[in-house]
């Protein structure tokens, strides 16, 4: 009897650990997608509806280059670069024209762009899922569960890139100018910060992060043209729940949204996980309309 109880305890601990690992992995990728959105939203007060499609383009870049026999790790960089450049074009052609209007035109135009990209990729490569093989197979086993090596590395890499972005924003000259532009664009411009260039750079950076995240996630998810929609909605829920108060808010919001979704999916069901996470976020809006970690926007100053 005691033996059986011990076995149960072992199984449950193992399962719990595995679920915790899956949740952490999901949160790290979500945080990576959301942080790009945060930078763009914080800087330009612009919502890029095509952010999910940038993620999708990153995944497709990885798939396309990998199929041509190019090294996986190089492709990660290539995806960030390609999607970052694409972001520059989008900023130049669409966002820059519209955001001076100060209304929701940017949101609408990028909404159109997201459909255009999604269906364009569907025409080019079809709607069927493309599989990206991970550079590793198998992984260490702990308490009866296997932890895929690639998933571990992807999680660590995602957190490392997030840390790099945080350092970039808090410790460098670029970060200082960027935060100044976020807190008070007019004052930053008066103090000789080239806010137009700041906007363009932040848009490129946000896009590159989305592309990188897409390429990094490609072996873990099914790569389809419509894959971006889920991610953009999750990332927006992160923005809504956390508020664009600081760079840390992205991580906190991602932990809440991604953690709940992964946990609820493990316990019950993926669709209801999405419904409940939406309901929770929307209820939190009533309590904290500007987000849980919004503060007064002062935190960008540190």
């Amino acid at each position: 009897m005691g033996h059986l109880a011990m076995m149960f305890a072992a199984v449950n601990t193992g399962l719990l650990l595995k679920q915790l690992f899956n949740a952490t992995s999901a949160v790290s990728l979500l945080a990576l997608v959301a942080i790009g959105l945060f930078i763009i939203f914080g800087m330009m007060k612009v919502i890029n509806m095509a952010h999910g499609e940038l993620f999708m383009l990153g995944a497709y870049t990885m798939w396309w280059l990998l199929a041509r026999g190019i090294n996986f790790w190089l492709n990660l960089l290539a995806a960030a670069l390609v999607v970052g450049l694409f972001g520059v074009i989008v900023e130049r052609l669409i966002v820059q024209r519209l955001y001076v209007r100060g209304d929701l035109s940017t949101l609408l135009a990028t909404f159109g762009l997201s459909i255009l990209l999604q269906r364009g990729v569907a025409i080019a490569f079809g709607d069927r899922p493309q599989f990206v093989t991970s550079p590793f197979t198998g992984g260490p086993t702990l308490l009866g569960n296997t932890y895929p090596t690639y998933q571990i590395i992807a999680t660590v890499l995602a957190f490392a890139v997030i840390a790099a972005v945080v350092v970039l924003f808090l410790k460098t000259d670029f970060g200082l100018r960027a935060r100044a532009t976020i807190v008070n664009p007019a004052m930053a411009a008066a103090l000789a910060v080239n806010t137009v260039r700041m906007n363009a750079l932040s848009f490129a950076l946000g896009s590159a992060l989305a592309g990188f995240a897409g390429a990094l996630a490609a072996p873990l998810v099914s790569v389809v043209p419509a894959m971006g929609l889920d991610w953009v909605i999750r990332a927006f829920l992160v923005v809504i729940v956390a508020g664009a108060g600081s760079i840390w808010a992205a991580a906190g919001g991602a932990a809440i949204v991604g953690g709940w979704e992964a946990g609820f999916t493990a316990i019950y069901d993926a669709t209801y996980a999405q419904i409940t996470v939406l309901a929770i976020v929307w209820a939190l809006v009533l309590l904290r309309p500007r987000g849980l970690f919004s503060g007064t926007g002062r935190r960008w100053r540190r």
Partner: protein, 357 residues
Amino acid sequence: MAAVTARQGWARVGGLVWNARGAALLLIGLLIYGRLADPFGLFIVASALVLSLLALSVDLQWGYAGILNLGPAAYLGLGAYTYAITQRKITAGSPTYLAFALAILFGIVLAVIVAFPAFKARTLPVYYALITLAVALILQRWTAVSYDLTGGSNGLVGIPLPDFSLPGLDLKMTTAEQFFPLASGVVVAAYLACLWLTRSRFGRLLAAIRDDEEKVATLGYDVATTKLIVAAIAGALGALAGALYAPLAGTAHPSLFGIAFSVQTYVWVAVGGQGTLIGPILAAIALKLLENRLRGVSADGYLMLLAAVFMLVVIFLPKGIAGLFDAQAVRDRFRRSRGGPIALAPVLERPLDEPHG
């Protein structure tokens, strides 16, 4: 509004009649089309008319109140499934009054649930846009997995045509062709109702909220409740569109909640011109007929084309293609180009030079 003189009162009635000329022309055009077209043409235009109710709901929110609901298809799907399920499980074989009433009721309830936190807590306008998009997507997912109620990803088929029979009066629809006059009547009535609404005091309050929400709030108006009412009316219109679309198509499918319907609706409103009411209806008919010619080529290509047109209209023609022909809109554009919405913009466009080093 204090004392309205008799002359002003008559002028307003006259103005309303003059504004309603669009409805008269639309009705005449539809009557002629109804005589000339073949059954398939009637079906296409009937579905354009039904879906143009959804475009009206978007135009009311976006064109008049400046609220962006990116998931109008949520109401289309909700209305369709409510009609279908009610008519299957509750009032099978009986008149469809309850099905329509429940669809509209659910449309209002969903709209209020979704809009309440956004407007009462005074969140950023983009939050409402994002949540409405998410709601549509999640309803689509949920419908696709709830086999018992919704038939899952197969959807529901064999949805009966509307039946407005009263005791002693047989008004049961028997053929799909009879849908055309019904759709025409409903759309013209909805157009007139929206016209009346937007030209009323309430409508002017909406326009004021669109142009400067803070100022309206400062003047003591309840901005949140006003926006909530618009969202509820739009929800009712959208659900009505769904409740009419399900019997017209004969099926209800999770794709009704899909992004394709939402994008299509926005394209109709953008092309027809937001804040015109009649524009989106005409655009719906024209583009639906065009779609019918192109769709055989490639559905993805058609959606891409719509998205591209939408982007171009948003970027270059903020008043829609119809705005090109509207003298008032042209005047507005010139007026707006002098004083932009944010005075900060010129400062940001020409920053000072960066310091050396």
